[in-house]
């Protein structure tokens, strides 16, 4: 299906797509609310026309005051199409339902997102640290987490022509 056809189909089938986005390079993003996260994801997984059987990755982007944008990238090996499912959660206490019931591969990605950003994934069976050491405190990928070495010592190559 073309990008437009896919967007129209999902909008019609779920009625939960808040906003859609197609970049100049032709990549598709569907924005939903956290409450509808699982509903739309389930449709994309189960519907035989969409058939997004491959879970590619899940992560988040720090949008500062607007919160965190959680992105799940799904791929369909049959229709060779990719879609980015996006939602916005607040900085403190943000929570998104887990996708591990639909794709088992979401487990590792959600754990990493949780430890890097502090976003809760409701219903995840094993939400513990994945990449960081046990005693590590903080969520590194938040913008307020600064790299201390750079603060303590200025990088000598920083004086560059603008």
């Amino acid at each position: 299906m073309s990008a437009k056809a896919l967007i129209d189909h999902v909008k019609e089938a779920t009625g939960a797509v808040e906003r859609e986005e197609v970049t100049p390079q032709g990549q598709v993003a569907l924005h939903v609310t956290p409450a509808n996260w699982h509903v739309v994801a389930e449709h994309l997984r189960r519907c035989p026309r969409c058939n997004f059987s491959m879970f590619n990755w899940l992560s988040a982007v720090d949008m500062e005051d607007d919160g965190f944008e959680v992105i799940a990238h799904l791929y369909s090996a049959s229709s060779l199409q990719a879609v980015n499912l996006k939602t916005m959660v607040p900085r403190e206490g943000g929570s998104v339902p887990t996708l591990t019931g639909l794709w088992r591969g979401a487990s590792f990605h959600e754990r990493e997102c949780w430890e890097m950003f502090g976003i809760d994934f409701a219903g995840h069976p094993h939400l513990v640290k994945l990449l960081l050491a046990e005693p590590f405190v903080g969520n590194p990928l938040r913008k307020e987490f600064v790299l201390m070495t750079r603060e303590a010592k200025e990088w000598p190559g920083a004086k560059e022509p603008e």
């Binding site: 960081l132 050491a133 590590f136 590194p140 987490f145 790299l147 201390m148 070495t149 750079r150 990088w155």
Partner: protein, 179 residues
């Protein structure tokens, strides 16, 4: 060990002892990251550090006397490195291979990298590069062998005993005064 570590050996005996030790270093491969590939390349046919006497026996740290830390050491991995180092019997040597293990390397500003393996273990030879060529490892081993040739075992053991008491050793301060 008895006499050897308490007495300054006379030159001919010292020469023979050190010559035997420097040409039979058994290496514990602590290959962590990209430098591990160059370490393996140094052990295969073209560069071959086996001709220097360094045998990549992987039976475990208990039978090794040279530790080559090749690659980035992260804070999560550091306790494992300390454990392996402590399991090695003295006299033991350490080569830090690559700029990540020398000083943190390209990840100098990371939140999870130990900036330099010498924070955990005492290093004898630093081999710079990212990754260093296998020939650089051969040079590092030869430098280490030169160091060993000039070494007095008494001073070596005294230094390691001092470090064991100060650092705390594997299980806390150990009283070595009666050994």
């Amino acid at each position: 060990m008895g006499v050897v570590d308490k007495v300054n050996l006379p030159q001919p005996v010292k020469f023979v002892f050190n010559w035997g030790r420097k040409y039979s270093l058994w290496v514990m491969n602590f290959g962590l990251a990209c430098c591990a590939i160059e370490l393996i390349a140094a052990s295969t046919s073209r560069h071959d550090f086996m001709r220097l006497g360094v045998i990549p026996v992987a039976h475990g740290p208990r039978q090794a006397d040279l530790l080559v830390v090749a690659g980035t050491l992260t804070d999560k991995m550091a306790p494992a490195l300390k454990r392996v180092w402590d399991q090695m019997p003295e006299p033991k040597y350490c080569i830090s291979f690559g700029s990540c293990s020398n000083c943190g390397g390209p990840f100098w500003d990371s939140y999870s990298v130990t900036k330099g393996v010498d924070q955990i273990v005492p290093v004898d030879v630093y081999v710079p590069g990212c990754p260093p060529r296998p020939e650089a490892l051969l040079e590092g081993i030869i430098r280490l062998q030169t160091q060993i040739a000039d070494e007095s075992l008494k001073e070596r053991f005294e230094r390691q005993r001092r470090e064991a008491i100060v650092v705390g050793g594997p299980v806390g301060p150990v009283d070595l005064s009666n050994r």
